[in-house]
Structures are given as structure tokens and as C-alpha cells.
Symmetry: C2
Subunit: 329 residues, 2 copies
Amino acid sequence: MKKLINKTDDVLRESLLGFEAAHSDLVTVNLAPRFVARRQRKDPGKPVLISGGGAGHEPLHAGFVGHGMLDAACPGEVFTSPTPDQMMATAGAVDGGGGVLFIVKNYAGDLMNFEMAAEMIDGAETIVTNDDVAVEDSTYTQGRRGVAGTVIVEKIVGAASEAGADLASCKKLGERVNATTGSMGVALTSGTVPAAGRPTFDIGESEMEMGVGIHGEPGRRRVALASADEIAAEMVGAIAEAKALKSGEPCLLLLNGMGGTPLLELYLMFHAAKRECEARGLRIERSLVGNYCTSLDMAGCSITLTRLDDELVRLWDAPVHTAALRWGN
Amino acid sequence: MKKLINKTDDVLRESLLGFEAAHSDLVTVNLAPRFVARRQRKDPGKPVLISGGGAGHEPLHAGFVGHGMLDAACPGEVFTSPTPDQMMATAGAVDGGGGVLFIVKNYAGDLMNFEMAAEMIDGAETIVTNDDVAVEDSTYTQGRRGVAGTVIVEKIVGAASEAGADLASCKKLGERVNATTGSMGVALTSGTVPAAGRPTFDIGESEMEMGVGIHGEPGRRRVALASADEIAAEMVGAIAEAKALKSGEPCLLLLNGMGGTPLLELYLMFHAAKRECEARGLRIERSLVGNYCTSLDMAGCSITLTRLDDELVRLWDAPVHTAALRWGN
């Protein structure tokens, strides 16, 4: 294992301290229990949006804490769910009386713990994201996995809550965005969990895992590495089919890096994906390219498409000021 | 070679088209000759800042084209200098009469071609960056290499030119920032040039190249992989010595990823580097963490320190709106 770390047990703590030091204008980090919260707290009465999950997917979720997006994030150890205690402490620290909305990627451990925490907090609600169209049921999931589409849910619901939407409206909106969002990923290499010390899965020198999960879960098939255009065509096709995207529909296209693939390739894949979308008549009205929902040092990418309407465009365009996403004022 | 590409000959063209499509609000891309320019041109009379060099270091330089930073960038093929013709066409497209300032990383090919172009353009000036303190003379360089400190030069000079500084002042400022900036890098793996099809250099499973260049040029020594703290101590020490940084001095700390290392590790390295700086009495008053000057899919990072003063802080803080760096309005 080749990593820029000290002791494997200290990876998350030291990384969070670095994150806090680099973004001290935006966030504060609490180490015990572990959570990242906005430095400037929200207006009382605003529902608070909290996400979390295992570390190793950075900038997800701590990189999205700030104005216009999350109020807090609670990271577990690498690829390990945070605990209900941790989630309750996070909610207690940031809730100003407007209620708590958890945004949870669909993994059994995350779901169980967030639901346990939600039951203990009066009126708390949960949005479960399950945008990965590659497979039904997986190593850690019943149903579909929650992957990079979670970023889009967090951005859009964050904008709504900032604009005054109440808890019930935010939950309904988040579920609507999730339902109209589909993703699919591909891995060229496996990431390595620091505590494991070796790659999560073995993969041949000329193979790719099509439909991979963000913890290295198996996808649809292990096949010979294909061209960028072929990969884009298969992934866009799978998403368009699963989400019944039709010619003429306006979409948001997120080309997400898995952590180990450089920007030179991500922009090339974006070009391939956008052309494939346009060949299907989809209108790419908004887009985002970069590393947003990663899998440690995995080489690969995912494509996410969200069907847009005027409301979603307006909320997507609303100002956001976080470590990993920033536009508007 | 595992890359998300089509044909190796098309990598740069397709990546630039993806970049343009993703950032069409900010830039336009010209393919023949190849350059990236601001969509909204500067005021007539503003000196234009143009940088360039081989591709493979993204987001350098195209990702820094926009308000408050570069006016244009001209990318060569991967790790290959752009041509004088290309540079002259770029200058011709963006110069509004305020003169042309080339910002050039110190590599023999880049230097020769940019100087040739500058000689052909009336009044054009050149700033050469050479912030890499690791070695004197290298595979492609006489003297010290220009690396991630170039980003800081581009940001600060960009702010000055936006605020009305003339060409001579911009050049003088850039040379001052370069002189007070030092960098050093470390590689855990080699990047792979698409057209070469294999890693630039071989490195053992438990080795690192300390002081590596951004094209995989040899550094100071090939040694066993050390801890993040040890790596940070050696790199910060080397920079502090080369730049005579003294206890109590205010600095900017850039922790730059080489392309294949995930954010989890970059923030951890930032934590290590910042502590090492503080142990030496340096005051880290500004900072930046992320992939800004990369080497394809190389795993590793570099540390850059710039000695600050009130003028440099003000210019660093000035608004910037580019694909890769954005703050202020």
C-alpha cells in the first residue's frame, strides 16, 4: 500500500483536522463524536440538512457543508457507517428548531444507523438516495446503491432549505430529485482501504469493472477495457433506460471522478458522455466535472444524469459556498 | 496502460472540447492553433497574461483562465511545449493593446519557444517561474524547474493586472512572487503519458521519489516510503532553507496533489505540512489544498510556500473566477 499517511488508525482524524485548517472560514470539526458543521450557523427555524457515511468518498460529504448545501456531515471511518450517537450529537449541535433532515446513501449500515438516530429525534426525517442504476442489491445494499447523485440531491435540497422551504417540502423535493436521477460507474483499478492495506478487489491489467460501486462492489460485468466513447455509450444508455429519459428532455450531467483519474481524462469522458447524451436527444442544460463522490484512489469515473425542470434549474443555480462546490455570491 | 481515452492522438483535443463544454460560461477553445481564452475579453489596455506548456498538468493552465487570473493559455501535447506560432496566435487573439506577458515554467522547450514568440511581439515580456527547490538542473531544465508555485504567480499577477497594473509592474510583481516562492514534490507512483503507453519511470512497491519533477524527472533521492509527517518535514525544511524562511514570517501554504492521490490524503498531508511550518514558527496566513499542478495520474503531492506581505495577501484575496479557482464575486 502506498499512501501519504502516518498511522492507519489516524488517517480520518488527521485528514479532518487538515480539512478544518484549510477551510476554517467555512467549517468547524468536532472530533468526539466526529462531525463537521458550518462555522456560521443557520437561521433558527431553517431545517438542517445532515449527511454522512463512511469516509473515503471525499469531498463527499464534509466538502459540501456550507451556505446553500449541508448544515453538517458526520463521517464514519473509511467505508464504515457513522454511529447513531454520532448522528444525534451532530443534529443536536446544529438544529435550531426547524427540524432535522438526514440525507442517506442506500447502504444497509448507514440506513440502519440513520433511521435509529431519526427515531430518537423528534420529527426528524430521512431521504435515502439510490441513484446507481448498475445493479439491484449489492454487497452492502438491498435495492440500488446511493452514489454521486447524492451530491445533486444535497445541492438542490440545500438551496431550497436556504430559501425557506420547510422540512416536509425539503424531504419531498429530495425524494423527487433522487427519483429522477440515475448514475453508473466504471473502475479501472481498485481503491485501497488504509486499514486493509491492499486493494479491495483484483482486476487485470486490461480489464474494467462496468457498473462498479463506490466501495468496489461488483458491477454488471468485468470486461476488457473499452474506449471512452464505448464506456460513455454504455453508461448513458443504462441510465437513460432506467430513468426513461426521452429525447428533448433537459438534463444535468455530472461527470464524476473516482479519485485516481486525472482531470485530463475526466474532461475527455465528459466530452464523450455529453455527445452520447446529445445523440439521444437529451439537452444538457447544466453540468459538473470533477472528483465529487470518490472511492479512495480508485481510477475510474461515474456518469450521473438528472432530469431537470425550471424549479430544479433555479435551485441548482442558487448560490453555494462550500469547500468543494462554490458559485454565486 | 489504463486510461479513459479513445485514440492517444485525440486525447488533448477531446479533453479540451470537454473543458470548453463544461465551462462555456468562462472560456472558448480554439483548436487550430490550440488555445483557451476568456469568453469575456478584458478591457482594452489591460496587459494580457498568457501561460502555457505541455498538457498533463491539468487544471494548469487552462483551468486558470478567467477573471482575476489568466487571459489565455496555450497547451502543447502531453509533456510537450506549445509552439511559437501557437503562442503568437494566442497573443494576437487576446491582446487589446495593453501588451503581452507570458508566464513560463522553466523548461528548456517552453522557454525557447515562449522567448521566440516574445521576440516577435512588440513589447512582450516574460516571467519565468523556477520554484522547485529540489534540484539544480534536471532532465528538461537548466537551473530550477517551474512547478506548482506557478499557480500562485498566475493568481497574484492576474489580480494586479485586473486592478490596473501595467505590463512592467506585472512583470516585476511576478518575478518578486516567484523569487519568494519555493516548492518540492514527492511521487509514490509514476504518471503514464498516453502516447508512451507505459509509466515514465519505474519505482518499487515501497519506494518514493523525493523531490520529483512534474514530468517524472528524478528528484533528490529514491528512498523507502516514509510517513506523511516525515515527508512533510523534509519538504518544508528544504523549502524553508532554500528560501530563507524565518520564524515569524507570514506564508501561503499550497498543498498540491499530483493527480492520482485522493483528497483524504491531501488534507492529511496539509495537516502534516501546516504543523511542520508552525513548528518552525512560520505563520500560515493563507492556504490552498487540491489538485492544481498535476503530473497525469502520478500519486504524490507537492508543497509550496510563498512568503507573504500585505500587498501579496490583498492580491491573493482578490476575486478570481476560473474553472479551477474561484472566490470573491
